[in-house]
Symmetry: C5
Subunit: 384 residues, 5 copies
């Protein structure tokens, strides 16, 4: 999924950034993921006001209904079809891709009795992962991570579940639930023979499992940048390190609160959560701990990278200055000697001597050799 050739930088940057003498650094690639958060309702509005982002994609609904015997799937269904489905099947999962229409959210809320404060959070897609308990329902927020084309993106998953039903909202299409859907369609007993709480666990587990390829991708970037920072530091490397740190922060903000939320679900006894589901949630919690562990590892390395980069740059400056100093130190005295015998004094006996010129050249060679030996003894050239 995350190919080897994935690079964290725009390819268009390279030609300029590599151009040797050009000090004007290329503009860093503009960040495609804006750090904008925008509350839909103005401050002081009535809590629970539902206002959709007009630019968000329109909602597309897909429902699964299943019972001991069968499983049916309704793609691109309407909210009005839900009551019939719920009547037919004891267990129902409705998934909504796209939050561009507040009406659909409100109607679904009415069908399942979702809490207005929770629905407001569904539409304000900058929530932290959390678990909120409302009477007869549990509301879980998680952030899904994807890195299509090497650019990290998050997608807020709002998950409601109650006895016999699960409702999920996603910001846009595309998730890691397809194997789960296949297991539903195959009417797998381990999944279909349990309650709605198990499906909720399975969805959360798929979200957490979806973090692992992202971590693999980040691990590759860490290694690439380590190599660049130590071997061939360029402004592109600096940008890459900064971008990596921002991405790690993004992942951390997704995973850290989810860990707490999953732990809360797993540890606290609640109606509607069987002991079996809680055991599985515990396993899911273990996975979030692993993700955090690796993430903190990457963060520690990334923090160190910028110091490594600065040290590498200083090393190079040192080398540049040594070249300058060696060249200057050798030729300036030689030029000075040449300058002396370029003076136009009438009475300069050396200039009239037959050996003046060759002896002067010899003196120059001696000066140069002495200086070279001195630099060698200092360890600036050759082996010390």
């Amino acid at each position: 999924m995350l190919g080897r050739s994935t690079r964290p930088h725009k390819p268009g940057l390279e030609p300029r950034a590599r151009a040797g003498l050009d000090v004007c650094m290329a503009e860093p690639p503009s960040n495609p993921r804006k750090r904008r958060i925008h509350k839909r309702a103005p401050p002081g509005s009535k809590p629970g006001t539902l206002i959709a982002d007009p630019q968000a994609p329109k909602p597309v609904l897909r429902a699964f209904g299943w019972g001991p015997a069968t499983c049916e799937e309704l793609a691109e269904m309407r909210v009005a079809d839900l009551p019939a489905l719920r009547a037919r099947q004891p267990l129902v999962w409705v998934n909504v891709d796209g939050l561009g229409d507040a009406k659909v959210v409100r109607e679904l809320g009415e069908v399942f009795g979702l809490h207005p404060l929770a629905l407001e959070d569904v539409l304000n897609t900058h929530q932290r992962a959390k678990v909120d308990e409302f009477p007869g329902q549990t509301y879980v927020v998680a952030r899904m991570l994807e890195a299509p084309g090497g650019v990290l993106e998050t997608d807020q998953l709002s998950l409601f579940f109650g006895p016999g039903w699960v409702v999920t909202f996603q910001e846009r299409a595309g998730d890691s639930f397809d194997p789960l859907r296949a297991r539903l369609r195959a009417h797998e007993p381990e999944l279909c023979g349990r309650g709605a709480d198990y499906l909720a666990y399975a969805l959360l587990d798929a979200v957490v499992d979806g973090y692992f390829p992202v971590l693999e991708h980040l691990g590759e970037r860490v290694e690439e940048l380590e190599h660049e920072a130590l071997g061939s530091p360029s402004p592109r490397t600096l940008w890459g390190i900064h971008q990596l740190k921002s991405d790690l922060l993004l992942v951390r903000r997704a995973v850290w609160p989810l860990r707490e939320a999953v732990l809360g679900l797993a540890r606290q006894e609640r109606p509607g959560l069987t002991a079996d589901t809680r055991l599985h949630l515990n396993d899911c919690y273990d996975h979030t701990v692993q993700v955090m562990d690796l993430l903190e590892n990457y963060r520690d390395i990334a923090s160190s990278l910028i110091e490594v980069y600065l040290s590498s740059i200083s090393n190079r400056l040192n080398e540049v200055m040594k070249v300058l100093t060696i060249i200057t130190t050798i030729f300036i005295p030689l030029s000075f000697i040449a300058g002396i015998y370029g003076m136009n004094f009438d009475h300069m006996p050396e200039t009239h001597s037959r050996w003046g010129y060759p002896l002067t050249l010899l003196a120059m060679v001696v000066v140069a050799v002495v200086l070279l030996l001195w630099f060698r003894r200092k360890g600036w050239i050759g082996r010390p």
Copy 2:
């Protein structure tokens, strides 16, 4: 509200800061927000002594009174009008803009029985957000944030509430409560049908909602500075980063204790706080957590920015030094050759040869080309 063109720097700074050879950096713009704290009463005074800041604006009072049926508003009222209003209406909200007169504060304190230690805190406007419980009343301090013209300002909100009444004090006019006032005037049942505790919640929620546009503004500044630090670092960028970090600290000092205070209100059972209000306060707490989360994110990025800046500057120095070294290394040996044949020795056979001059020029070209190739191999010019 916070326009696109908002810049964190004084425009007058630019011409000088950009002037190429001018090393004397322009003076950084003086900080309009002084980091002065000043206790009004001298150390050792009697606690509860009320001394107003003579330079603060004079208090302006506005009261709302409402009941099951009606809502009345008294703009620019006097303290003396309050008893009549309280007699007419079961619920009353008095708002005071400006703390320039200790007498008004004292009189209001007498009308509602506000605690003297709390009133002292109202006038010393460098309080942290907190909740203090006094018999028959709850005292909440919050700090409102505004960024008019891109400069962050805080305004201390002191909020007292008890059964049937809410009193608020602000340092100056201007707040984010206008939608709330409109809802009161419209006699909205969700607001007017509940107690004073719900209004107190609604006020706090409006304060917290007011943090979001400020965060949006800070997010834009973070992005701008990231771009500058990576692409075109100037002394202005350094000042901008430092200013950003100070502003983030300011917001943090406002939000962090407020989070605790709201949590305290939401979690602890107290007389005068209905379960419904506590549920809403929980939602408000969630918002403060979101604000903190984003803020910590910005703080992490801002901390990294100064290292990025330093690395960018070092990169540039490196490039400057490469230019110097290349030019010097190429021309110094050439000048030395020219210097040799500028010597006035009588016996320099080359100078009399027909091919002396062209061969010398050729040698110079060869030296220059060899050095250029060497620099190219080093990757200092062109592609490596």
Copy 3:
């Protein structure tokens, strides 16, 4: 008290530090506050051994005694006068300025039954703020801060109180208790009508209130150093930043444990502390929290300052190097051209041409202009 002109640096430093070419930095001003701690008794001695610092000032005692009706003051009294005073008045406060005589401390300890381990701490004046409970008495240590002449100093206040008496020890004369003494002399009912515990609170509150002017002074220094670091960084600035950080640490070490101590007094029920005093101590605790909050703010800014300083210095180096590079890059090729026509070859046709000289000068001008344009395009000179 802390005038505007207070500067954290010795004035004598300036002339040398400013002298342009002089690389030998002026010696940093020697630190007047030595970081020496010295335990009076050798390791392994009997605990409770009282040994006074022979260089400490001799103790001066001042006692207040008061009851429902009157208040009497005994300045420069002797320990022997105390029993009579205690017999006359129900409430007594004895203050000792100067710890140069272990005998006075021992005698006072006998009069009031002060615990030997506590008395040992009185004489070893490097205690952290703390509260120790002994039977029939409470022992509180606090550190008073002063900044006379811009140099921070701490003074250990040891405060004992029991039913009807308060004893305080200070390292030297000078404190912020004078308004309190005036209130005693005026026999103010709020103060004289309550017990010894209230006086103990009032003393601690005066100590905490005394931190605010010190913070104001530190805030001014932070602002000055911000300005210097961004606008005109000099070695003096570096010293100032380092000194500021040390001073902030000093204040932090005084305030942080005091906060804990005051909280301990306020929260824990103890005999001899009325509920009313505990309410006031809570208010005092709030003040210590405010002080810590500001202090942490300053510490964050000060930590950032040294990075800002380093970046400013690097910026300047960059500018210096640009000047050097521009001058060198322009004149070295010109000098090389001049060098070529300074060679003494017999056969240099250009030298004999009429237009050789003017054309060479023209070529030099062209080279210089081309290089200047190139530097301008790079943004090194003028506007980019």
Copy 4:
């Protein structure tokens, strides 16, 4: 085991890294330990799905069975032989080296009733150390550390134990359990006379004891790098420091959660853990605390090292620049004087004077001496 000559760098790096004028740093040695984590099962799969890494070594089983009287050992046994062994002997330990075959793991799981979620963790070898309690069995994960050839490697140890049996899985052959096996073969009463829980403790203790030689090795590297960073900083040093920090992180990630796990085992009463074993686990916990303590010490020093390195590099740059400045500052004025008398004006009276040449040379000597004295006074050459 970790010989003195162990170096953290590839020997092939040295010749290039030491070559004086060569600024193109040698490529840092590629990291043999990839930071890849790879979940075998795709997101959304059924939990407990066992998929083996096809590249992992094939499993090799070795079992010990013992009772009050005898101890027998079965090398390279098959799972099918286990029931007979369990029938013969009351206590059994099965060790598996290599995880390349999911079937063997599944079969062993069936024989001992190991939990499917735990078995999934056995095959996903990027687990953190942990303790999971399942009915009738305890599952412990620990990470073993080895540093063959100076390169740190971790090996996941999965340890199950229940009444009468211990099962361990390792990623590959090679561990620190040989002394333990020898004690079993010798039928040592302290080991063979106790239950399976004591063997589990003994295995964990051997894992923890195996950390000490790794720490010794890391301590040597810290000392070497300290020496290099202070005495002769090279790009190789930078790479070494970065590598050391990564290795310390790796060890920390192994030890930190193990400490928690061992503490959990030692403190919590569980069926199947005797008080005697828990006392020994407490001792083992003490050892993990010692390891962490040393590790944090190394980490603190390693963090400081990169700053030391940067400072050393800056020191050297300073020295290089002083050389350049001294040479340039001395010879540029001298060359200028020579240049003046190289001008071809007709009317230069000095050039015709007999003393012109020697006086000019004298002036040059005077200028050089004055400059040298000035540099000496500045402390740039010789003693200040």
Copy 5:
């Protein structure tokens, strides 16, 4: 004890480090205190195996026995003499200097019934301070600090106490218990009239009191290094700062766990610890808190020092570069002018003019003066 002239650097380093042009930094002084830890028994051995370090000094025993009436001292005694002493006197303290013989440790263990796991810790002298409770005895580990000749050394004190006896083990002779021994010999009632627990407290208190002179010594080094880093930074300073940080870590590792251990002893009720001893342990705990407080202070300053050092170095580089730039910028244009009139064109009218030479000299003076004024305006030379 720690004289003024104590320096943290080898004196032999200075001559080379100060030699101006010599860039090859002197080798940093080799660290006398190796960071080696070495477990005596190989991993997987039987716990409680006693193996002595063959290079450790041989044990020397000294015992005190005392009762209500007398106190006797046995210097250089043998283990075999102990039973008789214990029979004669109700209270016994045995001190062992040197751990080079496992047999003596084993025999003492048998006499007093010391726990084998604890005895193993006595011989592995890299323990953290801790308290272990075994039936009928308490085992305390503390690390004593000494700084003879300015080099910090730690010495593990293993202290066992039970009813009527105290046993202490030290790595080598030399401690801070001599005043305690004198008090025993003098049969001081405060010491001899209490139980073994009080002597254990007195020993721990002497260990903690022994930290204060070490802190005084570290405080002096902090001040010296502050002065050097700000005033005259040299490679020696860098080494000194790094060494100081390592030493502070060493002290911290000794004090931090001891603080916990003493607190554990003071707070938890145990048989064999009287309330009076616990009050004194509380006082001892206060002292460890003071030590930690000062230590953290030094650590904060030391962390800042390396940044200060780097900034100082950058400052100096700046000054060096200014000198280079000023000299080069002034003389390069002058040399260029001289170069022009050194050209050998036939038609250079100026060269034949009478005023050509003086006017050229005048032009040079003007150029030089203009440049000097420009540098002065920039603030690079003289006052700005």
